[in-house]
């Protein structure tokens, strides 16, 4: 049974999603979804165990060997993210039981859970596969289910947000498929590792260059890197809080994984660094993203949009880590991916809890909630502190490694800019803290009580994880270091 773990990881949610349609009763579907996601989490733990003991696992789908059939190849990097995505989906699903009651009409709950499971399948599928075209198919599955989940939001602007995301997402996916086509044309194969062997001979040709260009633009569109991030704020702001929490924690991370896989496993860091000035481009775009998004986050009225812009800024940090191009830079990116998922899931779930009670995500309606919902608001504050990078929280760890990597690479002015950008984070987090604690209530919140227990537990699991992984970084940093070794091992990295 254990030999089938890689495919079980994706098949369990894949077959569970259509099965939800048979179950019909919303409550039953909800619990079924949690069980499925928990099973996926257990499988990824099993995979972690196997990969650590036996190294990279390869699974031939349909029994056909690699370049002909589709192959699943799981190494440290995949398992690290599989663990993250399945854990996040389990926690968010636990909070979903009560949260979507207030945000979705009763008859749409079954479809919401089905779309959620399909999105989970898509993300897990992208993470596990080693076939370039298979990535496109599962990318499309996760994208379509994301459009549905966003469009289920209560506000009418959710529809336009979902439509805009559909257009930009499809353009991104089509760019990716053009990239895959160009690579296929020059090498004749679709398997990532086969590509990695055959690309060096042809990588001087202009077709491979434009293939790399298209792939990068497609992935950056999915990643919401700075100039291509226009769809993210609206999509996260008007989607149901549960969808926002799940997407913020996982969707962009999977896109970053794709970028890492492309830059390090398929094209190799030498090609990326020498042929195109990718280091400078990523560094400039990352910094621009950080500053522009943080500044616009300060002026937001809707609290979800505020933290959505902060997500765009945090992605800028990850891209900056990649731009450094050294092993430590990659470790900084991987650590920040894990940490950012924790932070954002905690904050958005807490906001979901508040929206559950006051039915609005406007910042001014949060005034004075500090006294009425102490635990939920404390979660937002701690999440905010973690975003800033205050010691004892997870954010500090990723900021520490990022600055260390920057210094090691001699980019000390960039290090100063990164530290100054965390000041912008201070401004927009403290704006929320001022509204929540130090301003008298704008709407009557006398009868508002604490968020329901079924939401408080996941929120506080995430908050405690935020602090625990801030103190004991053996899991996150350990795994990231091993992943970085494995990625650099293949190509004897620049360092």
């Amino acid at each position: 049974m254990t030999t089938h773990l890689p495919i079980l990881q994706v098949i369990i949610p894949l077959l569970a999603a259509p099965f939800c349609i048979f179950l019909r009763i919303p409550r039953l579907v909800g619990i079924f979804a949690i069980l499925v996601s928990a099973a996926a989490f257990l499988v990824s733990c099993g995979l972690l165990q196997q990969v650590i003991t036996a190294g990279t696992i390869s699974y031939k789908l349909g029994g056909w060997p690699a370049p002909w059939g589709i192959e699943y190849r799981i190494d440290i990097l995949n398992v690290y993210l599989l663990l993250l995505v399945s854990a996040m989906s389990t926690i968010v699903l636990v909070a979903a039981q009560t949260s979507i009651k207030k945000e979705l009409p009763e008859d749409r709950h079954v479809f919401f859970y089905t779309s959620f499971l399909l999105c989970l399948t898509g993300l897990l599928g992208i993470l596990a596969t080693a076939d370039a075209f298979n990535v496109f198919v599962f990318l499309e599955i996760s994208a379509l289910s994301t459009y549905t989940m966003i469009a289920l939001g209560t506000d009418r602007r959710a529809l336009t947000a979902s439509y805009q995301y559909l257009i930009m997402g499809t353009i991104g996916a089509t760019f990716i498929i053009i990239g895959v086509g160009l690579m296929y044309m020059m090498t004749g194969t679709l398997n990532m590792y086969d590509l990695a062997e055959r690309l060096p001979e042809v990588n001087t040709s202009r077709t491979v260059l434009s293939a790399f260009g298209f792939f990068i633009v497609g992935v950056c569109l999915k990643l919401a890197l700075f100039p291509l991030h226009l769809w993210l704020p609206n999509a996260y702001a008007f989607a149901p809080s549960i969808a926002t929490a799940f997407l913020a924690a996982t969707a962009t991370k999977v896109a970053v994984y794709l970028l890492i896989r492309l830059v390090f496993s398929i094209f190799g860091i030498e090609f990326v660094v020498t042929v195109l000035p990718m280091q400078e481009i990523f560094m400039v775009l990352g910094l621009a993203g950080i500053f522009a998004a943080s500044v616009s986050a300060i002026y937001q009225l809707n609290i979800k949009r505020l933290f959505a812009y902060s997500s765009v800024a945090q992605i800028g940090y990850m891209i900056l880590g990649l731009a450094i191009g050294t092993k430590l830079g990659l470790v900084a990116t991987l650590v920040h991916m894990f940490n950012h998922a924790l932070m954002k899931a905690a904050v958005f779930l807490a906001i979901g809890g508040a929206v559950y009670r006051i039915h609005s995500a406007q910042l001014i309606h949060f005034a004075g909630l500090g006294r009425k919902m102490p635990l939920t608001m404390a979660a937002i504050v701690i999440g905010g502190l973690s975003l800033i990078g205050v010691p004892l929280t997870v954010g500090f760890v990723s900021k520490w490694y990022l600055v260390l990597a920057l210094l090691e690479n001699g980019w000390w002015p960039v290090a100063i800019l990164v530290l100054m950008s965390s000041l912008l984070a201070v401004m927009y987090v403290w704006r929320t803290v001022e509204w929540i604690y130090f301003t008298p209530p704008r709407i009557n919140i006398d009868d508002v009580t604490e968020a329901p227990l079924s939401q408080l537990i996941p929120i506080w699991i995430l908050v405690l994880a935020n602090i625990y992984f801030g103190l004991n970084t053996s899991l996150t940093v350990g795994l990231s270091k091993m992943a970085a070794e494995s990625l650099y091992g293949i190509f004897g990295g620049v360092l």
Partner: protein, 308 residues
């Protein structure tokens, strides 16, 4: 081009012409799918949605400069990319030398299906097709979630008999003759996929087209007696489960996921059975999803009529 009706019809013609062009490029399966899906269903869905949306586009000034700039840069990148490409139709391009020869040479021995595209589609890269069925299922779920219609609108609309379709005598008689043939042709395409162009997708779409023709002519409520929306929803899920189930059965019998060799004692027979079942799963899903999408769009028009 302010009349959207013309835009939709032209896009239908565009798909038809591209289907014929695919045929010329030896891509028979793709031509069949493009004709049935591109020209058929997508034009149909656009016309159905046009019924709900204002038909004439307001003459608004659009912003050409930004668009022009972005398009030109992408075009430049593309043209730049095409310079080193292997020439059109050359036999020694890497694409034909690395992975493809094995499909052409060994597929007869390993899978025994003359149509290599079906063998690659269902067996070598069977997992891609499972993913693709899931994409169709996701789209179905999305449309179902977005265009929900409450129970009571369904009850009220039963009393509503579509007046305009009553006197279309000629159409109804011809349709009565045509629909059974369409459905039979769909089944033919479904099971003929191994030997000639055809397969799950095309069959599903043709089957759905037949049913949609019936619904359009004889009214939604009459066709609901035959194809109740709730059962069709179950069928969308059944197709994907069938496909996945075949894969799981292969796992239980000892092979990897979707490895049909283990289905029967003799691997080639196993492949045949596997491909047959898998194509059936795809056919069911595609047919039921297309039907459900059309039903949801028509429910919306009924809902509007009922509200007025």
């Amino acid at each position: 081009m302010s009349d959207l009706f013309a835009v939709v019809m032209l896009s239908g013609i565009y798909s038809l012409i591209s289907a014929s062009l695919f045929l010329d490029l030896d891509a028979v399966d793709v031509a069949f799918t493009e004709a049935s899906v591109g020209a058929g269903i997508s034009t149909l869905l656009m016309l159905a949605s046009l019924k709900l949306v204002s038909r004439y586009q307001k003459k608004t000034r659009y912003k050409p400069i930004l668009a022009f700039f972005v398009v030109v840069t992408t075009g430049a990148m593309l043209i730049y990319g095409t310079l080193d490409m292997p020439h059109f139709g050359t036999a020694d391009a890497p694409v034909h030398t690395h992975v493809a020869p094995r499909y052409l040479n060994e597929s007869m021995g390993e899978i025994g299906v003359p149509n290599v595209v079906t063998s690659v589609l269902a067996s070598y890269r069977g997992y891609d097709t499972l993913g693709e069925t899931l994409v169709i299922f996701t789209a179905g779920i999305g449309v179902m979630a977005l265009l929900m219609v409450s129970k009571q609108t369904k009850q009220e609309s039963k009393k509503l008999i579509p007046a305009d379709m009553q006197q279309q005598i000629i159409l109804r008689i011809v349709a009565k003759m045509m629909i059974p043939l369409i459905l039979m042709f769909a089944l033919y395409v479904q099971f003929h996929g191994d030997y000639g162009p055809g397969g799950g997708f095309q069959a599903g779409v043709i089957f759905a087209a037949g049913i949609i023709l019936y619904t359009m002519l004889f009214g939604l409520s009459t066709s609901q007696e035959v194809f109740k929306a709730t059962t069709i929803e179950l069928f969308t899920a059944a197709g994907v489960l069938l496909y996945g189930g075949v894969g799981v059965v292969c796992m239980l019998l000892g092979g990897n996921f979707l490895d049909y060799d283990f289905l029967k004692h003799d691997p080639v027979h196993g492949q045949h059975l596997g491909i047959l079942l898998v194509e059936l799963g795809v056919g069911i899903t595609v047919a039921s999803v297309m039907m459900i999408i059309f039903f949801k769009f028509t429910w919306r028009t009924v809902k509007h009529k009922y509200k007025k």
